[in-house]
């Protein structure tokens, strides 16, 4: 080390190496002061840049992004809740409409069953009335037929008597005999 009058001397020399002094470079103590000096300057600068500018900036970017994401997530979950509520309302409306439809359907079927019942009753009473009429007509026809049978029997009886006796009985006599036989 030479003593120098001025505290600071700059001399640009063509790449003069410490290595010329020989030895293992990392243990060459001549280079220590210079390395420490430049490390303090460069690392100090890096520290200042990082702590004053870069890290606060990155931190705020990350925070802002987190904020954006949180806001978006909150909005999304809100929208989802709203959609779910809407879906529930829709479901309820559907259930209500179904119940309504069922009520209307059962009412309609009850009504139509009543109508059919009434119609059937009407038809049935009509039929039974016709049956009664038919039975009455059968009875009348039967009585008429029976009367005819009496006439035919009277005629046959008078014809048989005429054959046997050669003389036709009077209608009154036949009638008298018939009523005597049937009256007993």
């Amino acid at each position: 080390m030479r003593l120098i009058a001025t505290p600071f001397i700059v001399a640009t020399t063509a790449t003069s190496a410490f290595a010329a002094e020989g030895g293992f470079p990392p243990f060459d103590s001549h280079t220590f002061a210079g390395q420490i000096f430049w490390l303090v300057i460069t690392f100090g600068l890096l520290y200042v840049l990082m702590s004053k500018v870069a890290l606060p900036r990155i931190g705020s970017i990350l925070e802002e992004r987190q904020g954006t994401i949180d806001t978006a997530l909150a909005a999304a979950s809100k929208a989802q809740t709203a959609a779910e509520a809407e879906a529930a309302a829709l479901e309820q409306a559907l259930v209500k409409a179904k119940t309504n439809a069922q009520a209307i359907a059962s009412e309609a079927s009850a009504k139509s069953a009543k109508e059919i019942d009434a119609k059937r009753h009407a038809v049935e009473s009509d039929l039974s009335a016709k049956m009664v009429a038919a039975e009455a007509s059968i009875t009348a026809t039967k009585a008429k037929a029976m009367a005819n049978v009496t006439d035919i029997a009277k005629e046959a009886a008078s014809a048989m008597i005429e054959r046997l006796t050669g003389k036709a009985p009077t209608a009154a006599a036949v009638g008298k005999a018939f009523s005597a036989a049937s009256g007993e």
Partner: protein
């Protein structure tokens, strides 16, 4: 030193002056080492300052890189020391980025590896341990000394334990400095040796058919060195966090 055609793996660690500078009798010349320190700061600034200048919500490449580094170191620090450790975040982040970038840039062929010099790693180690002591005393006063006195020990054992704790504390900066320095140095020496071996074999007539073997080794070593470059920066950082944790929470 070896000269001529012989392999000289130490050549890459030589410090050459670019601008001769003297201050109060100290040689503070701007050297290749200084140049690479400046480049390291420039690269880190490019990533963390230029990359984030747009402050976009959807980040670009550089901003993604800066954010990844930020969150990586922040998670590391809070994982070890808890929330209160974030006070040291700028220091830990600067350390990590400087060491990582210096390690990676050193892998560029022809580049100078700043962290392959023990004085640099020693300065970082002293910075860390100095911060631990200052912060520890500032936070806890004399209570910080409880770091060396584990509670619940029988009295006769105390002197031994305290001695061991003090030795362990003092060896921290030494191991911190030597680990990074040794890893960077050894890796670069090995790379240089295998590279030179390949070149040597190529010029050795019939033996040149064997040249691919050290070449393959050199390629594999390069990959390994990339891992080591990251790993050593990571180890340096996490140990820094562990030591800072002592300053925040002394006593076992």
């Amino acid at each position: 030193m070896a000269s001529g055609n012989e392999i000289d793996p130490m050549h890459q660690f030589e410090i050459n002056k670019i601008v001769d500078l003297h201050f109060l009798g100290h040689d503070i010349s701007f050297t290749n080492s200084s140049l690479w320190m400046v480049i390291v700061v420039a690269v880190v600034s490019l990533i963390t300052l230029v990359g984030t200048s747009s402050r976009s919500i959807v980040p670009g490449r550089l901003q993604t890189l800066a954010e990844m580094a930020y969150e990586f170191v922040a998670n590391l620090l809070t994982g070890v020391t808890g929330k209160e450790g974030m006070r040291f975040f700028p220091l830990v982040f600067s350390l990590f980025m400087f060491v990582l970038t210096a390690n990676f840039l050193g892998l560029i062929p022809g580049a100078f590896t700043v962290t392959s010099h023990i004085i640099i790693t020693a300065c970082f180690a002293l910075l860390v341990i100095g911060t631990v002591i200052v912060a520890g005393v500032a936070n806890h006063g004399s209570h910080f000394l409880h770091l060396f006195v584990p509670s619940g020990l029988p009295g006769w054992l105390l002197p031994f334990i305290v001695l061991i704790e003090i030795i362990s504390f003092l060896s921290r900066p030494i191991s911190l400095a030597l680990r990074l320095f040794g890893n960077m140095l050894a890796g670069h020496v090995a790379l240089k040796l295998f590279g030179a071996f390949t070149v040597g074999l190529l010029g050795a007539g019939a033996a040149s058919v064997l040249a691919p073997l050290p070449l393959i080794t050199a390629v594999a070593l390069t990959a390994l060195e990339f891992l080591v470059a990251f790993l050593q920066a990571y180890v340096f950082t996490i140990l820094t966090c562990v030591y800072l944790n002592d300053a925040l929470h002394p006593g076992h």
